[in-house]
Assembly symmetry: D2
Homo-oligomer: 303 residues x 4
């Protein structure tokens, strides 16, 4: 079976299933989306792009934006960010505030919400929210070599109106002196960053630089790329990261909008989207498809 | 510079340093060891073994035994073990009891002490402590193709006399019904398993099967080996696992005796020993040497 | 020595001391106050009022307002409030958010900040912030039989600008559905309630109803008064409540402005003020004076 | 209605009820007891003893022994014990090990299991388990003026065989250096202390000294007695202490055997027994009877 045939069969198999999971309910704008959708795009080292399903459908990348925001910050200020945020798995839910109290306002890693808010706050150093958002959208456009990437303002507004737990996290960080801008400014920027819309094809293209594919734009050093991948492997799926590594074996980052970016270093950049979520808040069919794909192709970094 | 020359230079460089870290103090028999020692052995896919420093010196493998005990259990009972222990990073110290209370006696993963005690308990199902220990020592001898691997009973006795926190963990597990044997029987077995002595050369040879090197004995399926590696990557260095992945980028498992087993899947099995520890309880010079070696060779799984 | 002479001697002794503690620093408006001040007022069952020191000096009652806000709510809606907040000591700091995550947004008791925010939110049911504040100020005026009790708007504003941790708590409560009004509305009301200014004499008079003194206005049932006292005894001094009960033996409630209301049921209502704080955030000299007074008079409820 | 008639009516009312709660299941010897039993004894200041129900039935006093062990230790070594154990409510279950990890082996108070094990360990300073047990049994006999008080060795043995969580606590304390004797020695003594058997009449008589009744033997200073009462009020019912203070309003201490000692300072010493427990592990009918009795007599310390 060719790769394309495999993707088509996978898409067909998933569409037969009834257990898509539920969409995230805490962002009203996302709660309306039909969970029974599925798309996949695979960018290969030879420059080809294979797709199946709704691979050209735009979706809200949400937490996947954390990877690219961190990439921006690493590119600009470098390793200094680690004075404000750690790089260990948290062993807790993505929106947990508990460890933040115990560890005096220093988030465990940049991929849980508290850590991502710190990253966005760092992006705001010396610039306006508009400029910071231009930077990250520009970064994605450069990485994807596609200018048709935008922020869905209705989603940003929806999250701003109901994201009470993120407001709590930002103010808690501020109380420990680990925000440099007013909480509402950092949060406003953060909600817009999460509301970036992309298709699977665009996301797979943007991921090529993290996979170090030959045709990807050179933006970050090889060392920084390795480190991004390490963070995705250890912390990319919140308290389901161990399970993902165990079952799939590649670095990845999920978003509550149902997106999943997965990197096979040197081999492929994969974007999957299916909005129904599992108990960890990761895409249910996305995780399944990732497991099937990696098994089929033997792409696990673990042999 | 040849690989051998690199290892020699690394050994020479480390011997010049003064910051070896401190040896573990809570096991009296280990507290007496001179921290200023260093050895390294690298088993390559072509069957060669390169060494430097004290690579033939025996040391107490301690927690590295957890990897092989888990391998035994996976080989015998398979995935059933996951009903008793999780596979997520704990975000806490190796001997933490805190999460155990909150998660009702189910340890987060098999590489923190609580989880390893459950693994040993599983090994005891239907056999005596002597038989269980024969099984794991036998497993190591088979994997290393070397029969000169033994338990240091003085170390086992020393730990049994002072390992109060492990006694607490075992009894706590028992109170939740997650031990099947009397705590003192499981613990006695566990302390002996941790007291296995090996040299870097022996350990690198035993690790070949986890690296899927061509000359390694075939013991576990490819899938089980990938999963062992995933667990080592995410949980192999306790609450320093994220840092190790970030800086080194290979699956590894440390022991409080200063040993470190590191796997480059398909490429190499590396054993390093230096008894001085860093703040996480991992070998300080061992971690440094691992980082240097992987950088030099470009072995990171993250590209 | 007469009671008046004792209070005078206590005042004189304290004024000789150099260890007043530090004023609260997180509310800028309070951080400017000189810690070396002390006042005490004791309302007795026979209707007399004894004073010493700065007993007529106004100060910010801060968390002492939580007792009267709860009294209002108990008077109006009764025991229903306990569906939203518990009545157990928290074993944690006054502004801890940790237990709130673990216990799904239900604060342990109405005297830690999270619980007090819920009480204020309950006061807002069906009325404006202005009306709710009129109710609590009116309650205090009635209880003290003194209309000269007001809110210090500069303090309320100061806390609103820097009370990030309280903003976090309110939004966290909201995320669990345990606020009924917008977080900024409830918090605005809460900050104003905490900024009520009173003198020791006014506060001791207001406390008479909680001490069930004969000349106090009858506002609450005897059972509700007993329950208020029980809550003050168990939770009135945050994670220093056990120490206060152990050393003093009376129900009390402290405020971060340095105030302390203490109740000897049937015997006396005592208000003390000294703005320097101890490690728990309670008035240092206030706690000392309370201990000395109760010892001298034999007022401990514990015999 | 006379006091005696009230107690009789209360006994009759309770015997009609069907919701006795369940007996403790984790100590096999206690798990066999019929929950549908009830006895009460009230020692009054005038020297009379009123009883109802099974007031002469022996039961295992369990955690109530912690009060008398602490009284022994306070009498002998005094306030020094507070270097090893705190006096704040824990906000957690009686057998929680969680706070012990976070607070480095110093239990929150002497009435949770960890703290009581430290108290017993202190009693063992310089003496054998047999001598320490003689001291506490002797203390109870003196306090009750009754020599017919003994240890039920079958219960002690039963708990020793199944008390895994207490074994965990003791070893955990030891790992922090907060036990001075081997864990098994301190625990053996602790299990025997908890297995003391008394009747309600004996327990009410023993409690007279804590209530400072005129006919009680003088053993402790007035200050120490006040402090014992304060600790019982704040920590006597584990994470149900706030609820007990709120509903009943007197210092008390419960035991998992269904016993309850309650003190009305200067007025009465009350012992109640009913082996069915509520969710906190306190006697269900015992708590109910305490609430009814205190309401009827107006004995709350809170007015």
């Amino acid at each position: 079976m060719t790769f394309t045939a495999f993707l088509g069969a996978l898409d067909a198999e998933i569409r037969e299933r009834a257990d898509w999971g539920d969409v995230a309910s805490y962002i009203p704008e996302l709660a309306r989306i039909d969970p029974a959708q599925f798309g996949i795009a695979v960018a290969l080292a030879d420059g080809t792009m294979l797709t199946a399903g709704d691979a050209e459908q735009r979706f809200s990348i949400q937490s996947i934006s954390k990877v690219f925001a961190l990439a921006c910050v690493l590119g600009r200020i470098g390793e200094q960010i680690w004075t404000r945020v750690g790089r260990e798995p948290s062993g807790a839910r993505f929106d947990s505030i508990l460890l933040l109290e115990r560890e005096h306002g220093r988030p465990r890693n940049p991929f849980i919400n508290a850590g991502a808010i710190v990253t966005t706050d760092e992006m705001l150093a010396g610039r306006t929210p508009k400029d910071a958002l231009s930077e990250i959208v520009g970064f994605l456009r450069t990485a994807a070599e596609d200018d048709d990437i935008h922020i869905d303002k209705a989603v940003a507004k929806s999250e701003a109106e109901t994201g009470f737990r993120n407001v709590a996290l930002a103010n808690y960080l501020m109380s420990f002196g680990n925000l440099r801008n007013p909480p509402e400014m950092t949060l406003g920027t953060y909600f817009h960053q999460c509301a970036i819309e992309m298709t699977c094809v665009q996301l797979a293209r943007a991921g090529r630089m993290i996979a170090s594919l030959p045709d990807a734009p050179r933006i970050l050093s090889a060392q920084k790329i390795r480190r991004l991948n390490a963070l995705m492997m250890l912390c990319g799926h919140y308290d389901g990261s161990g399970d993902f590594a165990f079952r799939v074996g590649l670095p990845g980052k999920s978003g509550v909008g149902g997106g999943l970016l997965m990197i096979a270093p040197g081999v492929a950049s994969v974007a999957i989207w299916s909005p129904g979520l599992n108990v960890y808040g990761n895409s249910k069919m996305g995780t399944y498809a990732a497991e099937r794909l990696v098994q089929e192709m033997g792409w696990s970094v673990f042999g």
